[in-house]
């Protein structure tokens, strides 16, 4: 439906473009003054029938664009899917990362979201700070995340794959570094993803002790542990994510260590402070975070 409108309008535009530019070009080339043009061209002031014609024809063409446009607006915006059928996802925009809450499944995650193929997803969008915009180009249009308000957008992903998304409303220094990944899985793979996020966390390790001692828990949460910070992205299952720092770097031990060493040089303006940690401490934390499957 959406694609139909898109293609209709593009073809109308290309057609009009060709006709009008051809007329313009023809007029300029054909009516260039020649050496034998000694007199005056006819001093024509206008032609009412022509004026009426080139008013009505564009109006008629617009009619063909307007009808499917209005139909699509109402089809895609008016009636959200029934609450029971749709997978509810609350998206909270933060400078500069995405928080995804799936309340019915009891799962919270950040920057990478898995969705089951074939089930309609109803996103509820809001922001914790400034205006952001939720956009996964190959899954649907954008919708802003306004602080203090809730917007909604819904779609039904129907092919397995990885879909890149990115904040589309300028939101400050690292707007360019606010990316996300949506993985559309078969329903059983999706269930497994949910289960791993709910699995036990390794809290009896030196890694976790270092995590707490370094103050990470002030901002970050790990489900099932005393670490319940709300300011930064949750680290539940961070070891399984494919990227870190909101989709800007592949999730490797080197990148993770770099990030811990100097967040601001990886993501300018990042709220995560440079904690001046020793290399051994960074190694311990990287190993620990990597173990969070």
């Amino acid at each position: 439906m959406l694609l139909d409108v898109y293609q209709d309008v593009i073809w109308w535009s290309v057609g009009i473009f060709v006709v009008v530019e051809a007329l313009l070009l023809f007029a300029v080339l054909r009516f260039r003054r020649r050496p034998d043009d000694t007199g005056m061209p006819d001093q024509v002031h206008g032609h009412t029938a022509l004026e009426v014609g080139w008013t009505l024809i564009p109006a008629a063409i617009l009619f063909f664009i307007a009808i499917p446009t209005v139909r699509t607006i109402f089809l895609t915006q008016r009636d959200p899917p029934p609450q029971a059928d749709a997978l509810q996802v609350s998206v909270v925009g933060h400078q500069w990362w995405w928080e995804f809450q799936l309340p019915e499944l009891g799962v919270v995650t950040a920057n990478e979201l898995h969705l089951p193929r074939g089930r309609t997803v109803l996103f509820t969008l809001t922001s914790a700070d400034v205006i952001h915009s939720f956009w996964i180009p190959r899954l649907g249009g954008k919708r802003d995340l306004n602080p203090g308000e809730e917007n909604r957008i819904w779609f039904t992903p129907d092919s397995i794959g990885v879909y890149e998304g990115q904040c589309a409303e300028f939101c400050g220094a690292s707007h360019a570094n606010m990316r996300m990944r949506i993985f559309v899985d078969e329903p059983d793979a999706f269930e497994r993803w949910v289960e791993t996020l709910k699995g036990p966390a390794p809290i009896d390790t030196t890694g976790f002790t270092t995590f707490l001692a370094s103050g990470c828990a002030a901002c970050h949460a790990i489900a099932g542990t005393p670490a319940q910070g709300k300011i930064g992205p949750t680290l539940t299952g961070v070891g399984r994510r494919t990227t870190i720092a909101a989709g800007i770097l592949p999730n490797t031990p080197e990148h993770l260590a770099n990030w811990l060493r100097s967040p601001d040089s990886v993501k300018p303006g990042a709220l995560m402070p440079d904690l001046n940690m020793s290399e051994t401490r960074i190694d311990t934390l990287v190993t620990f975070l990597y173990g969070l499957q």
Binding site: F31, G46, W54, T69, Q77, G140, G141, G148, C167, F170
Partner: protein, 623 residues
């Protein structure tokens, strides 16, 4: 009086005379020179942006500098280049085209220019202290709040835009009054040149649109300086308020920027096709309709903000309606060329180029009038492509058509044709190389305003092409400046009417004398000078025989009194600039600025308009 001596009388008098001038022509030159200087600044900012984006993960600029550059580039091009460049042509040409000796309020006119200049300087001072505004030219709340933008950049932006808004509003009043009241006898509204018509519409748009952004900016000023909560969501406010106020101004602003070029093209095409404008009344009324509808479409900038299906539908349909009068204009321009004897000169190239490029910008505009499409395209490079086809392809090409067309009238000399043609083709190639690929980038999902992108997105090649194109544009602008300097030094003398044109400004010398016209012309046609040259009767005269009217007596011998130069507009503007800029320094400076402003305004009010002993012109003037 020789052309040389007249040249001296308009532009002579030493540097100080430029500070006190109230002559609309000299003020027009000041606007033009200032805008062309800022064109270099804004262009340099664009080059930096393109250098950063030429390759993925580039480090030419950091994130913060990049955000400052695109903010300054947008703000500079809109408020410091395109608007003042149009103001330059309005100032110089409108009184000449309506047969007047000056604008209605010459000293207010000087005040407008100086206020604009001080506002623009205030904005650019931010670059020198390294704290340029960085929230975009659209400055969306609540990113602009003290919490999320704690530096001084947004303060510079708010204060300078408020100062420049005063300049625009003062000029708006001035030109509306001038055009409505000071037309030569016989010049009815429907005999008024198209450029003057578009000037009138633009000034009315300014008067109606600038109050909205002024209110928005004052709210923001209060939020930042006095701790109010107009845009603070934590206090229950909605940041969407800013978006509405900004775009109620911002969309008419699009027409404020493009209509002057529509006017220029409507003058240039007839002159070089040697025919009248086809369907002139339709072109006029479609301009009025565009301006009127322009106030009813602002939320098409906000389709992604979640207004709901009913507002989306209303704003979408209103936006589509604008395509109709815009199409009417384009068809009338093509019909003007049809069956003409088209003379290929630089102004014509730019005018035709403007029409050709604006068609592309107009069509991509229709595409995102449809919300389902816009929700993909908005905030991507597709919109960057669209807006540059409108503002660069449309406005800049139109303004260059106007500059090449009226340069001989302004300076008395012709611009070089060969350099002009080179300028045109370089700019045409550079413009399309820069901006056309952005359509593809946008459809490929590249968002706007990102300082970096990943190498695996497939965006590298088009971005590199765009950067190369930006340098071609820069080269074309350089060719123009070379042409301008060469013309000023050794250009061929233009004579009063180099294009064999139809309107009143070509009846007087180039450059015109200080008093414009020795005898106020009487007009009985929309093309008075054409009929005067080629018609059955001499159409401009105080003794014109209008059909059915008795011959008029000879014009009385008159002396021409011109308003005397004055320092006070400059002083008042400086006071306003210091007052607003002082907000960044301290209360003492604010009070100093206020005192200067008050002194300036009072002294201005008490100074007589014509000083005794000021030279007068005309048959009765002292020799």
């Amino acid at each position: 009086m020789t052309a040389r001596a007249e040249h001296h009388s308009l532009y002579g008098g030493g540097p100080l005379s430029w500070l006190t001038t109230v002559d609309h022509k000299r003020i027009g030159v000041l606007y033009g020179v200032t805008a062309l200087l800022y064109f270099v600044v804004g262009g340099f900012e664009a080059i930096l942006i393109r250098l950063q984006l030429a390759s993925p993960e580039s480090t030419v600029l950091g994130a913060e500098s990049f955000n400052q550059m695109f903010t300054m580039h947008g703000t500079t091009m809109v408020f410091l280049v395109l608007m003042p460049l149009a103001a330059a042509l309005f100032n110089f040409m409108v009184p000449l085209m309506i047969g007047a000796r000056d604008v209605a309020f010459p000293r207010l006119n000087a005040f407008s220019y100086w206020t604009f200049l001080f506002g623009s300087i205030l904005l650019n001072l931010s670059l020198f202290i390294g704290q340029a505004p960085d929230a975009g030219w659209f400055g969306y709340a609540n990113l602009t709040s003290k919490q999320f933008s704690p530096g001084m950049g947004i303060d510079f932006w708010v204060l300078s835009l408020l100062v420049m808004g005063v300049a625009s509003l003062a000029a708006g009043v001035n030109f509306v009054v001038t055009i409505l009241n000071m037309r030569a006898p016989g010049m009815s509204l429907m005999r008024m040149p198209l450029f003057v018509w578009m000037a009138l519409i633009v000034q009315i748009l300014i008067l109606l649109a600038f109050p909205a952004i002024t209110v928005g900016l004052v709210f923001l000023l209060f939020d930042r300086f006095f701790g109010t909560h107009f845009y603070i969501p934590a206090a229950g406010a909605t940041p969407l308020l800013w978006q509405h106020l900004f775009w109620i101004f911002g969309h008419p602003e699009v027409y404020i920027l493009i209509l002057p070029s529509f006017g220029i093209v409507s003058e240039v095409l007839p002159s070089f096709a040697r025919k009248p404008l086809f369907g002139a009344p339709f072109v006029i009324f479609s301009g009025i309709l565009i301006a009127f509808l322009g106030f009813g479409v602002w939320s098409h900038h906000m389709f992604a903000s979640g207004l709901g299906p009913v507002p989306d539908t209303a704003f979408s349909l209103a936006t589509m309606l604008i395509a109709i009068p815009t199409g009417v204009k384009i068809f009338n321009w093509i019909a003007t060329l049809w069956n003409g004897h088209i003379v290929y000169r630089t102004p014509l190239y730019f005018a035709v180029g403007m029409v050709a490029l604006f068609i592309i910008g107009g069509l991509s505009g229709i595409m995102h009038s449809s919300p389902p499409i816009d929700l993909q395209q908005t905030d991507t490079y597709f919109v960057v492509a669209h807006l540059h086809y409108v503002f660069f392809g449309g406005t800049v090409f139109g303004l260059f058509a106007g500059i090449y067309y009226w340069w001989p009238k302004i300076t008395g000399r012709l611009l070089g044709e060969r350099l002009g043609t080179l300028h045109f083709w370089l700019m045409m190639v550079g413009m399309n190389l820069t901006f056309f690929p952005m359509h593809f980038l946008g459809m490929d999902g590249m968002p706007r305003r990102i300082y970096t992108y990943a190498p695996d997105m497939g965006w590298d090649d088009w971005n590199l092409a765009a950067t190369v194109g930006a340098f071609v544009i820069a080269l074309s602008v350089l060719v123009f400046y070379v042409n301008a300097v060469k013309s000023a030094r050794s250009g061929a003398p233009a004579g009063p009417d180099p294009w064999d044109a139809a309107t009143l400004e070509w009846t007087t010398s180039s450059p015109p004398p200080e008093y414009n016209f020795a005898i106020t012309p009487v007009v009985n046609s929309a093309r008075p000078f054409w009929l005067h040259k080629y018609g059955p009767t001499r159409a401009i005269s105080t003794r014109t025989r209008e059909e059915g009217t008795p011959p008029q007596p000879d014009a009385p011998v008159e002396t021409i009194d011109l308003p005397s130069p004055s320092w006070w507009p400059l002083v008042a503007s400086a006071g306003l600039g210091i007052l607003m800029g002082g907000a960044l320094v301290g209360l003492g400076v604010v009070l100093l600025g206020a005192a200067i402003l008050v002194v300036g305004v009072f002294a201005w009010a008490l100074q007589p308009l014509e000083r005794p002993g000021h030279p007068a012109f005309g048959p009765g003037a002292p020799a």
